[in-house]
């Protein structure tokens, strides 16, 4: 038996909020898995729906805030499926980090342990390009990190250093986003996107009808 959950349609819903997802209504995660600190997505989704982030399709009335798309998108990307399996626990930890985009705006996002920073940026619509798709054949995912973070991260692979050599505005604290893997230790980390064009991004406005 599946419950259908759908994202709450509020003004805060960003583009790309996923389609309604089928969710098993029971969630028989093994106690052993849960005791390791692993989280069952099924349970997580149920908790979110209880908190009003997502409501079942049959419910009416206003919901709460928009659901946390990352959980679903991440799951969909990892499994290629819309269906959340309750018997496959996920690695537990969320990691909260901040992107500073090319216009200087601070954008806090939530990632997962094991996820790379390029992937994290892209699923939050942050304008970090990954031309070669994380194969160390370009430098389009170039970001700056703090010195403190630089010291925490593993030393870059020679191949990463080779690609960084081609990045415009290379600095001591430059890294390739696709090579930074999130760990709990990176909680609070900030990633700054280099300014690659002049000033701010001009977003096309629609002139008022007259």
């Amino acid at each position: 038996m599946h419950n259908r959950l759908e994202p709450v349609q509020t003004a805060a819903v960003k583009q790309g909020v996923p389609e309604p997802i089928s969710l098993p209504s029971c969630c028989p995660c093994s106690a052993a898995a849960l005791s390791k600190g692993e989280v069952c997505v099924g349970a997580e989704l149920k908790a979110l729906s209880a908190a009003g982030w997502y409501r079942s399709a049959s419910a009416s009335g206003n919901g709460g805030r928009a659901g946390t798309a990352p959980v679903f998108q991440w799951w969909q990307e990892v499994t290629g499926s819309d269906c959340v399996s309750p018997t496959t626990p996920l690695p537990a930890s969320r990691v909260n980090v901040v992107f500073i985009d090319r216009s200087g705006h601070r954008i806090p996002v939530q990632g997962r342990v094991g996820e790379d920073v390029l992937h994290l940026a892209q699923r939050h619509d942050i304008e970090l390009e990954g031309a070669c798709e994380a194969s160390l054949a370009c430098s389009t995912c170039h970001v700056y990190v703090s010195q403190e973070l630089l010291d925490k991260l593993p030393v870059p692979d020679e191949r990463e250093e080779d690609m960084l050599d081609l990045a415009p505005q290379l600095q001591e604290n430059s890294r390739l986003g696709c090579q930074i893997i999130l760990t709990k230790e990176l909680e609070g980390a900030e990633f700054t996107l280099p300014k690659i064009t002049r000033n701010f991004y001009v977003d096309g406005h629609v002139p008022k009808p007259h």
Partner: protein, 492 residues
């Protein structure tokens, strides 16, 4: 869409029916003119510059329509025809471009040659903005006697040949002699050397069947990369150099005399130059590790760097048609670093070879006599991507900056040009109240001239056919090199 907007506009209040109706009508007209205010933009060229410019415009303007024109039936420019066959990861960017092409405000029109099938002025009548991103289709010439002998080729044509560029498919390069000379020390020179010397199993990727067969029969065992200046001025980059040093079945020929003492000179140079030079120094001066030494000892092929040699003349063979060697001036350097100049010393040297590949740079050509073009610099004169003296005309990529740089340079540059277009839209420099028909008017022009554009879904049919043929040969794709065959496949 308009219908649902109009229904939102129709207010429920029955009391104010009259006023409401008038308001509805004017708002509906306003919404109609909003639809007419969607900028129509066209991009000429479907390589990285064209696609990245389109991507940025589509992302930062909610209404803009972008049409990308391409002279070949197939898209992607140098990503398809320039990137070496053994560098498939660099081609992953095609996935990004495909996403852009699939946007419902984007359309691709291949098999349309701007400057022949339709003129830039006609595009300017049809679109609010025209972005020229057509790259560099020609090469720099040596300007020396003998450069037109039959066994002298531009690296550009050689790369086009092994990558299936239709205009180079009949090159038939002469690979029957042991020594090849590549003039130039950039990444293209390394690509060419690597393709000439690589074991066949490394090459067996999307390289064309015809060129793979020719390389399989090649007698070339030694490739010299010859530069006018010194080790500190090489234009290739470290990833490609490392690849060459580690190429199976080959050994590097680096003269220690070229590198002695260089370590001190590079102490304070920027990191990229420093690391690159350190790698050359290490390979030239340090004793190789055990595995490397074994590989070098058993190598059947070799490559080397010759510095401070400037080509003077290609020497003809007895038949007067082929090359037998190259005469070069020995140079010394005046100045240092990137701006060092090579000055002849008076001494001259000859190198025996038949195959000579000139890899001294690509070159853009003027598209159409109406576009400003600087023949000396080989670029369209522009300021931040706005073509000088030509409002509504922009440029991005190599035709804007010159033919150097890697994907990130072109990406940044294209985003920058797109910024200029967006600014001009916002400031009213591009007048959107002049409504433009976009492809609608171009279509009738093309139709009247018997030109049939190839759509993106047509390309996807060609793509599928190439992948299917490749599967039979154990390759990721077998490129179709005949444009007529491409057009027949999609029943044009």
């Amino acid at each position: 869409g308009l219908p649902s907007a109009a229904s939102r506009v129709r207010g429920p209040s029955a009391r104010c029916a009259g006023a409401g109706e008038r308001r509805d009508r004017s708002l509906a007209i306003g919404l109609l003119s909003t639809a007419a205010l969607a900028p129509q933009i066209c991009v000429v060229g479907s390589g990285p510059a064209g696609f990245y410019t389109a991507q940025h415009l589509l992302k930062h303007h909610r209404l803009a329509r972008v049409d990308i024109y391409e002279k070949l039936p197939v898209p992607f420019g140098l990503v398809r025809f320039g990137v070496a066959p053994d560098h498939p990861e660099v081609k992953n960017v095609i996935n990004t471009f495909t996403q852009t092409a699939h946007s419902d405000r984007c359309a691709y029109y291949g098999n349309v040659t701007i400057g022949k099938d339709v003129m830039v002025k006609e595009l300017q009548r049809a679109y609010h903005a025209v972005v020229l991103s057509y790259g560099a289709e020609d090469n720099q010439i040596l300007g020396i006697p003998g450069e037109n002998l039959s066994t002298v080729y531009s690296a550009r044509a050689f790369v086009g040949w092994y990558n299936g560029l239709p205009e180079n498919r009949d090159l038939k390069p002469d690979l029957s002699s042991e020594t090849a000379v590549v003039l130039g020390q950039g990444n293209v020179a390394l690509d060419v050397a690597r393709v000439l010397l690589s074991p066949l199993d490394i090459l067996r990727t999307d390289i064309t069947e015809g060129s793979l067969a020719a390389i399989a029969c090649s007698k070339v065992k030694r490739v010299w990369l010859v530069g006018r200046r010194g080790p500190l001025q090489v234009a290739f980059t470290i990833k490609e150099l490392r690849e060459m040093i580690n190429l199976p079945g080959t050994r590097p020929l680096l003269d220690p005399a070229d590198f002695t003492g260089l370590g001190d000179v590079i102490k304070d140079v920027p990191r990229p130059r420093k690391r690159l030079t350190e790698l050359m120094i290490k390979s030239a001066l340090e004793k190789p590790g055990e595995k490397e030494a074994a590989r070098w000892a058993s190598a059947t092929k070799e490559w080397g760097l010759k510095f401070q040699r400037s080509p003077l003349e290609v020497l003809p063979a007895a038949d007067g048609k082929q090359a037998r060697g190259i005469r070069m001036a020995v140079t010394r350097l005046e100045g240092s670093g990137e701006s060092a100049r090579a000055v002849p010393t008076g001494e001259v040297e000859e190198l025996e070879c038949r195959l000579i590949l000139s890899s001294i740079g690509y070159r853009s050509l003027p598209l159409d006599s109406s576009i400003p073009f600087d023949p000396k610099l080989g670029i369209i004169p522009n300021s931040l991507g706005r073509v000088q003296g030509a409002p509504g005309l922009y440029c991005s990529g190599w035709v804007k900056r010159g033919p150097t740089g890697v994907i990130i340079t072109t990406m940044n540059d294209s985003f920058d040009t797109a910024q200029s277009v967006l600014e001009d839209l916002q400031m009213g420099v591009l007048n959107l109240s002049n409504s433009k028909e976009g492809f609608k008017s171009v279509r009738s022009i093309l139709h009247s001239r018997g030109v049939h554009p190839v759509t993106f879904s047509d390309w996807e049919k060609i793509d599928a056919a190439e992948v299917a043929r490749g599967k039979l040969a154990g390759k990721p794709r077998e490129k179709i090199v005949d444009p007529q065959e491409m057009l027949q496949l999609i029943s044009h």
